[in-house]
Subunit: 114 residues, 2 copies
DNA sequence: TTTGTATATCGCAATATTACGATTAATATT
DNA sequence: AATATTAATCGTAATATTGCGATATACAAA
């Protein structure tokens, strides 16, 4: 076996490129988009209802929440038997900054040559 | 077998949520981020050098280009024996609009309750 | 202390993604 | 025509992701 296949070769890219990809990846699934939109809508961060709101099983939602928490985009705190999740606003801004810088590259120079 | 496993249940999400996820997914790999940045930098869209510029094999780059082309973010045209790729500016703006709407959700109401 | 409720984790099945060698296709050069 | 160059496609190997049933854990209520 010469090569670790199926694995992204992150080491050949810059930290910036890998960071953009990490943030983008977490939005790359509609369930996580839906979770974040729901957390934005309910500014009070009641959360167990994510399962009934979105039509996925509880372990599946829990796994998506874990990925969002791992990147720091959401925070969770135990509230009795249930867990209260909400957006981590500082991290959200940090992420927005990084993605905007990429999305808003100067496109005016592009000659549209094709 | 009760369920198509390993497959995202896109049918339970809105078109908007799926669209956001599709665009984000394409940035979810550093190679595609690098390709787009390179296309932005060289406003003349000479392209065969993407392979030497980024350290991945030619079939791998070709596959990533295909995904970007499938979403419409880049265009390609044959130029002799080589192929010239460039950013599709209209589609880029369309994508930016959709992602910005998601990223710029009103965060001011968030109570940061956790 | 038993029972219920809510969430996380484990384990598994199935599809998706990443990467590349080998080959093909299409044009350029000799 | 024969050869070289460039990029796409095929086939395959290996890891990643998605989803969920079963189970574990942690706290609340009876």
């Amino acid at each position: 076996m010469k090569q670790k296949m199926g694995l992204a070769k992150t080491e050949i890219f810059s930290d910036q490129q890998n960071e953009i990809a990490s943030f983008a990846k977490v939005f790359g699934h509609p369930a996580r988009v839906a979770i974040l939109q729901h957390l934005f809508k309910l500014n009070t961060c009641v959360c167990g209802d994510l399962v009934s709101e979105i039509g996925l099983a509880q372990p599946t939602i829990s796994q998506h929440l874990k990925e969002l928490k791992l990147l720091g985009l959401i925070k969770g705190s135990v509230e009795g038997t249930s867990v209260c999740y909400c957006i981590n606003t500082e991290k959200w801004h940090e992420m927005k900054e990084i993605l905007n810088q990429f999305l808003n590259q100067d496109i005016s120079k592009q000659g549209d040559c094709c």
